[in-house]
């Protein structure tokens, strides 16, 4: 563990941007956990008298059409957005890692089926496929998670497959097999844990895309139900107000959304540098 920490320190000192990303990430995490407590106003409370007010000391990000405090809404939305992203990434990981590892390890038909499935998904423009899935399964948050997981699945499956394929005949796997473990046990107990680091990197790299995807879906009206705050839908709501001069309604959620994705992308890079310097590009 110690050398890894030393390595991490080296990477951070070499790359201050990654340090910045870690700081940002901590901020987002705090917002996600304590957002509802920290929010200065009730994010759902309308107030006709305060509708469409520009940013001020009382309302840092201004107010929306119904007089709700945008800062509070942006803050509270963090939890929903991050939850969607985390959940979909974890789901994609579970689907992708398991099937990918199985494909790489067993080869043959398993490999062919998983490969075909991944190819089929990859043959769609991913965002359009996600739209179709949400529309087909129903207009709910959980379906955004599922859709995002499905379109990310091939990425995980491919990486897991390649890694498992390499390790199939590695010494430690052979040893585990010889000591009387069944194939499934070898797979889950020995191959899977070994590809975890690279899967972790993959997860941090796809987080940003997952957030963007969810926001894109709710931008076109799918998924999140009003009055829940979510960055994408807030941008969509604000879009109608930009031309009339109320730029803050769309700008702040949009900028926060961008910052979050930016943070996760940098973080993914940084994590990759720490875990596997060879992959650095």
């Amino acid at each position: 563990m110690l050398p890894l920490l030393r390595h991490a320190r080296y990477v951070l000192s070499e790359n201050p941007v990654t340090g910045l990303a870690f700081g940002l990430f901590a901020l987002f995490l705090i917002a996600a956990i304590f957002g509802p407590v920290l929010a200065p106003y009730n994010p759902l409370q309308s107030n006709a008298a305060m509708a469409l007010k520009p940013p001020s000391a009382a309302h840092w990000f201004g107010t929306d059409q119904l007089g709700r405090d945008i800062f509070s809404r942006v803050l509270v939305a963090t939890r929903l957005d991050l939850t969607i992203a985390f959940a979909s990434v974890i789901l994609a990981f579970m689907l992708g890692a398991l099937s990918g590892v199985a494909a790489g390890y067993f080869g043959g038909w398993t490999d062919r089926i998983v490969g075909r499935l991944a190819d089929t998904i990859m043959a769609f423009p991913l965002f359009v496929l996600a739209m179709g899935i949400v529309a087909a399964l129903g207009n709910e948050v959980i379906n955004i998670v599922i859709a995002t997981a499905i379109i990310n699945f091939p990425l995980y499956a491919r990486v897991a497959r390649a890694e498992a394929n390499v390790r199939r005949d590695a010494g430690f796997v052979e040893a585990a097999r010889l000591s009387g473990n069944g194939e499934t046990r070898v797979l889950l107990g020995h191959v899977l844990p070994n590809i975890m680091p690279i899967m972790m990197v993959q997860m941090s790299l796809t987080m940003g895309y997952a957030i963007l995807n969810a926001a894109g879906l709710s931008f076109i009206g799918l998924g999140v139900r009003p009055p829940d705050a979510e960055w994408g839908i807030m941008v969509a709501e604000g879009a109608n107000f930009i031309q009339s001069g109320e730029w803050w309604i769309a700008l702040f959620p949009g900028a926060t959304l961008m910052l979050a994705v930016f943070c996760f992308n940098l973080l993914g890079d940084g994590l990759r540098d720490i875990i596997d310097p060879r992959m650095r590009t």
């Binding site: 390595h7 080296y10 070499e14 310097p277």
Partner: protein, 322 residues
């Protein structure tokens, strides 16, 4: 033999900055090569042979840094030259060929053009007659059917053929110094001999100085006038080949020789030298980097190493030579 040095390296030290600390790869390395002479740099992998060559050529990785020393070549210090001036020298005055000839050639450029590139660059030919000049070079390195081979890509050629191309590239502008970095690694034995003979012959034709980097003492003995033995970034002994074989003075050289039973066995196969190379990142490296492995170690071995001249052009860096 008139001893006019073609290249004189003095007090060369090189450091590498890596993720896990600074590595002192070379320390106070000094040797010389005379015109028309062939000198071998011999040592285990990681002893600093190639780094020495790269430092002289000015093609170290970005992480490598020359911290001291001079490399006098025809009156100029190569280490002090700017990149632009050095690039003028490289390929024209001093050339290098590498191990693994197949990867050392641009995989997606026809070999004839790769030779022509060098010729055009150094004014050896105009753009128009470069292709023909390249074919002439192919003839010189005895490639059959050179017109057709010039149009080939490296992957279409055998390893030996690729090394001939490399030699053609290196010698295209008739340089004064050739550095051959393990040119026969990865080639089969008969090809090895052919390539070595070719280098020797072409060098002899033009009075070119040659530095031959190898870990194969037998090969060095066969083709080289003098042998320089390196260990962990130090030169431990330098002597004419015959003298070294007859009477190695450094304990490491002796071990090396003892471990060379036949002509074809490489050093990597030998386990008889106890211990390994020291960790060059250590801050408390002993003055003699061999001392940890040495059976003849004395208390004074911690003091800076002496350079003892023990014979005609025979120098050893040891407090307790054989």
């Amino acid at each position: 033999m008139t001893a006019v040095p073609a290249l004189q390296v003095e007090d060369l030290s090189v450091e590498f900055r890596t993720r896990s600390g600074v590595v002192k790869v070379l320390e106070h390395v000094g040797f010389s090569v005379d015109k028309g002479e062939t000198v071998a740099l011999v040592g285990e992998s990681g002893s600093g042979k190639s780094v020495t060559a790269f430092a002289v050529m000015g093609i170290l990785d970005a992480a490598g840094k020359v911290t001291s020393g001079r490399a006098l070549f025809g009156g100029t210090d190569l280490l002090a030259l700017g990149e632009r001036d050095l690039a003028e020298q490289r390929g024209r005055e001093l050339s290098m060929i590498f191990q693994n000839p197949r990867t050392a050639l641009n995989p997606i450029r026809r070999v004839g053009r790769q030779i022509a590139d060098v010729l055009v660059r150094h004014g050896g030919a105009t753009r128009n007659d470069a292709p023909q000049a390249a074919i002439e070079m192919l003839k010189r390195v005895r490639i059959p059917d050179p017109e057709r081979r010039a149009e080939a890509y490296p992957f279409e050629l055998s390893g030996g053929m690729c090394q001939r191309i490399m030699i053609a590239i290196a010698l295209a502008c008739r340089p004064a110094l050739l550095i051959a970095d393990e040119p026969t690694t990865g080639l089969d034995v008969t090809t090895q001999a052919v390539i070595m003979d070719l280098i020797g012959e072409l060098a002899g034709d033009s009075g070119m100085a040659t530095i031959f980097i190898t870990h194969d003492l037998a090969l060095a003995a066969e083709y080289c006038d003098r042998i320089v033995v390196m260990h962990a970034g130090h030169i431990v002994e330098a002597a004419p080949g015959r003298a070294l074989f007859a009477h190695p003075r450094h304990p490491y050289s002796a071990k090396l020789l003892a471990a060379t039973p036949g002509e074809t066995v490489a050093l990597e196969d030998l386990v008889s030298i106890p211990g390994g190379l020291p960790d060059l990142r250590r801050s408390d490296l002993p003055a003699c980097r061999y001392s940890d492995r040495c059976e003849r170690r004395l208390d004074q071995c911690v003091q800076p190493l002496p350079q003892r001249t023990v014979g005609e052009r025979h120098v050893v860096a040891c407090w307790n030579p054989l």
